[in-house]
């Protein structure tokens, strides 16, 4: 049984070129980049070069604006707490209802510490309510924090427009963007988009898990989260994880080279999967079909059946996807993102996120389209909601 991996928003496979680029820094080039002797030159330069690559990857103005971190969560935590610490007189934060838990849980903690946090909602297509956002910004707003694209639906938020709104209302308010789900999928230009801070994570674009980066523009001051040595210009202590930083830079180069492929070929396969499922499965509904999504993601709800069971049957055939259903996560509530979108409760527990990568093949998509209807039929036959399903079938045919 071969593996069909359609869960690339959770993590991706390490590109072979990336692993190869990393190997010397595990083997020969193990020097601490801060050391003084000649032996440290290669590892020192490797980190320096990687910083340049990441700078170009997001079109930052200067290498000094790039901080290497251990993951997307650390990037977000550093950005958010760093900005708030430098602006102690401001106590108001704006974010969205559909952020990643690494951001949402931090804001809930900050609320307990006395911050006022406004959570901006989305419509049924998963699009942000910009009027509500504009309304919320005031003189006390220290930070606006919006993800670039949502990990469950792939919906891209209008970052440039949001930046304009923020600057028109309060020039001192900082703008943090969690770009973990767009890096490597669409081009990022932090200068054109007017972003103050932006976080990415290597393992979402074919680097290994455990390395990330944070962009902090030169006009924005932050305190470090990890206090210690002078590394990363005092913004993040800890000896640089040289092989992983090298790996992430290699992955960024590869991703830049294949952006065109993402936007054409990966998108074509995603659309094929999406329309194929909708055509073949009567109780399927796409949870948002708008065109402004990252090209690799679709989220499809199967009505009157539960998501974990779908995933288990897919897994038996070697197919990996993920679900917004509560049952897979150990939490008891279904996805906060789908709930914020008001996805009907007939479909929310049976929603599956499919996320492709440039390694996904047409053959794999065809195979999924071949076997999925059978799986769904089998599970649908177990459902206690046969009358409702019968009505739905009539309605959709």
């Amino acid at each position: 049984m071969s593996l069909i991996y359609l869960d690339n928003n959770a993590t991706t496979k390490v590109a072979p070129e990336v692993l190869e680029a990393m190997m010397p820094y595990f083997k020969e080039e193990y020097a601490n980049p801060s050391s003084i002797y000649e032996f440290a030159k290669n590892s020192n330069h490797a980190v320096r070069d990687a910083r340049g690559v990441i700078k170009d990857f997001i079109n930052a103005g200067n290498e000094k604006e790039i901080i290497f971190t251990s993951c997307g969560s650390e990037s977000a935590n550093t950005a958010i707490q760093g900005v708030l610490n430098m602006n102690k007189n401001k106590r108001h934060i704006i974010t969205t209802k559909v952020e990643h838990p690494c951001v949402l849980n931090l804001y809930q903690t900050l609320e307990k510490q006395g911050y006022k946090v406004d959570y901006i909602g989305v419509n049924s297509n998963g699009e942000l309510d910009l009027a509500q956002l504009e309304e919320a910004i005031n003189y006390d707003t220290a930070l606006v924090s919006v993800m670039y694209a949502n990990n469950e639906t792939g919906v891209i938020f209008p970052i440039e427009k949001i930046s304009e709104i923020i600057k028109s209302k309060n020039k001192e308010t900082k703008f943090f963007v969690d770009a973990v789900q767009v890096a490597g999928k669409i081009p990022i230009d932090v200068q054109a988009a007017g972003i103050d801070l932006l976080g990415i994570s290597g393992h979402k674009f074919h680097a290994p898990k455990g390395v990330g980066a944070l962009y902090v523009n030169s006009k924005t001051l932050i305190t470090p989260l990890i206090i210690g040595g002078h590394q990363e210009r005092g913004k993040r202590a800890g000896t640089e994880n040289v092989p992983y930083i090298v790996g992430m830079a290699k992955a960024a180069e590869l991703a830049s080279d294949s952006l065109k492929y993402e936007l054409s070929e990966v998108k074509r396969l995603r659309d094929k999967l999406e329309s194929g499922i909708l055509k073949k499965v009567f109780n399927a509904r796409v949870n948002t079909a708008i065109s402004n999504r990252v090209p690799n993601t679709t989220n499809i709800g199967f009505e009157y059946i539960e998501g974990e069971l779908i995933l288990l049957h897919l897994s038996d055939l070697g197919i990996c996807a993920s679900s917004g259903s509560a049952c897979t996560s150990g939490s008891l509530e279904p996805s906060h993102v789908l709930r914020a979108m008001n996805v009907p409760f007939t479909a929310i527990h049976g929603s599956i996120r499919w996320s492709l990568s440039r390694y996904t093949t047409e053959k794999e998509i065809d195979y999924v389209l071949d076997v999925l209807p059978g799986i769904i039929n089998k599970i649908t036959a177990l459902s206690p909601y046969q009358d409702e399903l019968e009505n739905l079938k009539k309605l959709r045919s």
Binding site: G307, L332, P334, F345, H349, L382, S383, P384
Partner: protein, 279 residues
């Protein structure tokens, strides 16, 4: 990734007894679409024996496995035997469930209980429904009642709010019911403790206590209706009594004994007490 047992995997891959029984003698339901899992179970009962059982489940792998194995466990058993099945039996039959998934076995138990309740009360279905809605809801997010939590504690020896969440889902969403759940746990174990104390009474203490309860609590009540009771003998947990006056020969005397005298003594002295009337 869940560590499901082979048995669980077998049952969600090849669920047994799926479907509906058209002229079922009892139907039970648990859970709801909004909560993320629900189960309907259909029973055919002939001469007090479950001759067929089928199920329909909306839920995860362990929910389907729990329903499927439950139907296997009950077919061929008497209603009395089936009544004794607990959620723990279901989980054990499956070779165990991950702690976070125990609520799936509880759902199986609840649907079965619902079915048997309906079977016993075929004539009084409406009354039963009213009784059910009148039950106190503790967790509004998942519609979990006090009785459901009580049962889960009793059957599985649960001790923490987290346990309760794993077994019944209560407390797993907004969390505002957690205080109430803690109160129920506290009450349960306080009650259990006082019961344990009761059963450690020496035989002499027990006789004194029973006599005392009859004189101060039971006899005055019976006298109100023009009857009375005397204690004849105590043999272990058997309490022999004589009913007098209006009570003796009254055709409700058996009911009086069972419903009032026995339950009062069980509650206050020992839950294993049997009250027997002697002439």
């Amino acid at each position: 990734m869940w560590d499901y047992s082979e048995k669980v995997m077998d049952h969600y891959r090849n669920p047994r007894n799926v479907g509906k029984i058209d002229n079922a003698d009892a139907i039970g339901e648990a859970g709801s679409l909004a909560c993320g899992d629900s189960l309907k179970i259909y029973l055919k009962i002939e001469n007090g024996i479950v001759t067929d059982a089928k199920f329909q489940t909306f839920g995860c792998g362990s929910a389907v496995a729990s329903s499927s194995i439950l139907t296997e466990m009950i077919i061929g058993k008497t209603v009395e035997e089936v009544k004794k099945i607990t959620n723990k039996d279901i989980a054990d039959q499956l070779g165990g469930l991950p702690p976070e998934k125990m609520h799936c076995s509880v759902m199986g138990y609840e649907a079965l209980e619902d079915a048997l309740g309906n079977y016993d009360n075929l004539t009084d279905l409406d009354e039963l429904r009213n009784e059910k809605t009148a039950e106190k809801i503790v967790c509004t997010c998942f519609n979990v009642t006090e009785n459901m939590i009580w049962d889960a504690i009793k059957q599985n020896g649960l001790r923490t709010v987290e346990d309760i969440t794993n077994y019944t889902k209560a407390g797993g969403a907004c969390g505002k019911c957690k205080g109430l759940i803690q109160d129920i746990i506290d009450t349960y174990y306080k009650k259990e403790e006082s019961e344990a104390q009761k059963s450690t009474l020496s035989p002499a203490q027990k006789i004194l206590k029973i006599n005392n309860i009859i004189e101060t609590q039971i006899s005055p009540e019976l006298r109100k209706d023009g009857g009375d009771i005397t204690l004849v003998d105590i043999d272990g947990n058997k309490v022999l009594v004589k009913l007098r006056g209006k009570c003796s020969g009254c055709k409700n005397s058996h009911l009086t004994l069972k419903a009032f005298v026995e339950s009062t003594l069980r509650e206050t002295v020992d839950k294993n007490i049997d009250v027997i009337e002697v002439a």
